[in-house]
Homo-oligomer: 139 residues x 2
């Protein structure tokens, strides 16, 4: 668990509990955003005793202090979570067959906001972009 993350948890007034540290450690080692169920399975494998509800509550707490990002991938019916640290702005591609998720490095949309604000009169805060298709193994 990164020292900066530890500091931010402390600074927020939240506590560094056994389960919270374990949740952060797993998220930090993940290569793609994890669902609560995947997180639970990974924690089991690490022999961390934890109730699924506690995972939800920790994710919610970490999200509320801005350490974790909650996202939902196209056509999935569950939330996923990732550490914000070092994953500033990026998008994903998801395999329609096996569900494998990979990061995309580029974001082609930075210039688009002004155009959309003109078109819709919304103030744009965010965007999500996701591709789906077939990963190398499923082709």
């Amino acid at each position: 668990m990164k020292a900066s993350v530890k500091d931010e948890i402390r600074a927020s007034g939240k506590r560094l509990t056994r389960t919270r540290k374990a949740v952060v450690a797993v998220l930090e080692s993940a290569k793609y955003p994890l669902s609560p169920a995947e997180l639970y399975a990974l924690l089991q494998r690490r022999k961390v005793a934890i109730d699924p509800v506690t995972i939800y509550r920790n994710l919610s707490a970490l999200k509320s202090i801005g350490l974790v990002r909650q996202l939902k991938l196209h056509q999935e019916d569950q939330f996923r979570y990732e550490m914000k640290e070092g994953r500033e702005h990026h998008h994903h591609i998801r395999c329609k067959s096996c569900g494998k998720i990979a990061d995309l490095l580029l974001c082609p949309l930075k210039k688009l906001t002004a155009m959309i604000e003109r078109e819709t009169r919304f103030v744009v805060g965010d965007h999500s972009l996701e591709f789906s298709g077939w990963c190398p193994r499923c082709q």
Copy 2:
């Protein structure tokens, strides 16, 4: 209900039932993709007696014959549905405050597929793009 839609339902071997016609009619008149719950409320308002389960089953049937598109908006925990007819490829913007959804007319991503396929070795099938922000009334 459009004649072409009626034809496609018939051609698929599915039946033109009272409830199915009502579901299509509401979807055709919608300006943005509807959730099953919204659909139910709109049908109630039109005095159409229908069980929520029947809405789910009709949406599933209409989707399976390609008349309806199922989508999930970022951070929402329910599916939405729209007629494909006349809404070929587009994206949405959703108000973070009131949930209002508007269509976007442009799609800037058509040229991007090749680049992504090279980067990830996936074969790209689809993409979803969604903006969120604040609508005129919520600003």
